[in-house]
Symmetry: C2
Subunit: 419 residues, 2 copies
Amino acid sequence: MILIENAKVLRNDKLISTNILIEENKISAIGDVKSKSDYVIDGRGLAVIPGLFNSHTHAAMTLFRGYADDMPLQEWLEKKIWPAEAKLNEEVVYWASKLACIEMLKSGTTFFLDMYFFPQATARAVEETGIRACLSSAFFDFFSKDLLEVNLKRVEKELKELKNFRVLRAIAPHAVYTVSLEGLQRAMEIAERENIFVHFHLAETEKEVLEFKKKHGKGIVKALDEIGFLSPRLISAHCVWLEGSEIELMAKRGVNAVHCPASNMKLSVGKALNYPEMKKAGLNVLLGTDGAASNNSLDILREMKFSALLQKFYYGADLFKAVDAFRIATENASKAFGIKAGKLEVGWLADLVLINLSKVSMNPCHDLVANLVYSASSECVDTVVVDGKIVVENGYFEGKEKILERFSKTAEKFFAGLV
Amino acid sequence: MILIENAKVLRNDKLISTNILIEENKISAIGDVKSKSDYVIDGRGLAVIPGLFNSHTHAAMTLFRGYADDMPLQEWLEKKIWPAEAKLNEEVVYWASKLACIEMLKSGTTFFLDMYFFPQATARAVEETGIRACLSSAFFDFFSKDLLEVNLKRVEKELKELKNFRVLRAIAPHAVYTVSLEGLQRAMEIAERENIFVHFHLAETEKEVLEFKKKHGKGIVKALDEIGFLSPRLISAHCVWLEGSEIELMAKRGVNAVHCPASNMKLSVGKALNYPEMKKAGLNVLLGTDGAASNNSLDILREMKFSALLQKFYYGADLFKAVDAFRIATENASKAFGIKAGKLEVGWLADLVLINLSKVSMNPCHDLVANLVYSASSECVDTVVVDGKIVVENGYFEGKEKILERFSKTAEKFFAGLV
């Protein structure tokens, strides 16, 4: 039981001072509540906000942060990332995921959707650090039937293993340029059978879109619809190169699109996710950092600013507001993943972040949400609660030093083995 | 005398471990130096980098952080900012500047170029917080001869007053849509007489450029050249809507252009500063946050990332690298302002920042500059030295709480007076 006393909370667009009681893993009361709690947090000078969602990342790619920047995409993949990834092992993914979990928690993220190799290693990192996650078993088939069968066998095994962890699960066919339509269809079938999510890269570059059209004589979204791939369980990252009619169809089918502004800018994809059209169509938009090899940060506070600024730059200054950035990092993700987090409500999960209002970047506080989106940094994150447990306190994640040390040793060994 | 022992430093693109000795306000030795110093900093786990330059801001606009976001530019200015600015006083500018100085120092900025009302109040804030700055006396004339004379009188008075402070000085005719060509010419004459800088907004929006051409029958840059306004002492912010030939002429005249990516994106100016052309032409490009009303952060670490990502998004993934972002925030500014800071060299000013390499966002450290530009946050700033004095230690600016308290009271009074 945790009682947060006299903290600032947004209610009906007003910042009020109130108490929040956490029992088990839920918010059990908000308001004039007093209780003989085990643990009382003095909330004066703090604002409580819902924990933030990072809805597209490759956590263990922290390993490759700064490893190969500023290169053309193809050269980057072929000369640096793919050869290195071919040598990945469970241990290095585990430590790199752990580093990522700490980075995310310390910047206010309480939930992430991941796609990477060895998801069971990431699952251990998730459980041990206390963050919440949806982990994917990912695959390519490179348009080979044999490879598809081999990979789906592994995927089924991984999905079974992931059941042993406190995580949501997804299957992740990588993208249309790496997975056949049959592969995508089989993935959706597995997702339906298991009642899990499908995590996917969609329309990230113009090349992807043009080549698909050339090969199949129709657009990606139409083709996906024909095989029953468009569904509310689909979380599709990027969604940059989509036509208005494709956006409408996706919205109709209840698909979720993840905006990854920093990655899209860094890799120069040439366009911004069309939020104005998506909003009009009612398509649910989420926010993601992508991996540390292409961002290079997993800080969703920074990502909110990138989302707002890229949208403003591309579509106009007043169409996408601070509150939109906050919504794609909270409520919209809550809706997509069907979990009661992302709002401060009685009965909802106690996934929340206490923001230190005495940091310079939070002052003055004319508008809490504007400050969070446009000027807050990870430095403002004081306390993070996930599933009713305190995981970051006074900006500190206990045991960080040891994890960093183990990560560094493992990473050193890994990169030495590459030469 | 300060000795930094066993810190990581970039030398010829390699990260080496070394010692740095600071005597008076200068770096007096780098290398295997041992000295009975007054003060020894254990540099293990720290990297030393030159202090960063914020080459365009309106420091005291911290007052308006989050005050009115997400509005169309004209409405924002006319309904919110200008009415409020009309009521500014020296006290509120002083406290808001002080807040800005702390925010900048804590995120690694050791020098800023400012443009705002009551520069003498900002000068006090600069001296008291220990940061380095070039402060402008700013004016509009709104194309009225009378107003020009009145304002130049005030400017002359302010410039004289600023001589009493440890600051560089500039005169700041606001922009071509608020100051007559005669006003600009007079400003440059004063700058030459006083041997100071000229701080100016140039080609921020398409509207500015089109309306000027309509009114004068020629482009802004050509007109400025005809009145002798293009000079190495000119620091022109934004420089978004420039033609190739204008960039060439500016480069030839030694003008400096300040990239303000976050502000340009947030205010949706529709284009990105043309760094590729500027580089080709040899135009010196600097980096600035602009004010907290249009950013809303004064964190130059974040701004380096915005500069790189906006350039990549607009012009291609491999044209503007992490090292370019770092250069526009250091060496290029050093060159523009003619001060020996922005490089770690013996005999140069001891304006430097110690970065905590144990922060998650700095790990792994494949590439220090890439980490600084793409993933570091203000949390990584451990110690800041300006002019040989330690002003931030362990991420802490001494006296911050009291300053924040006084700022908040003054701001509250100010905004209460607006209603």
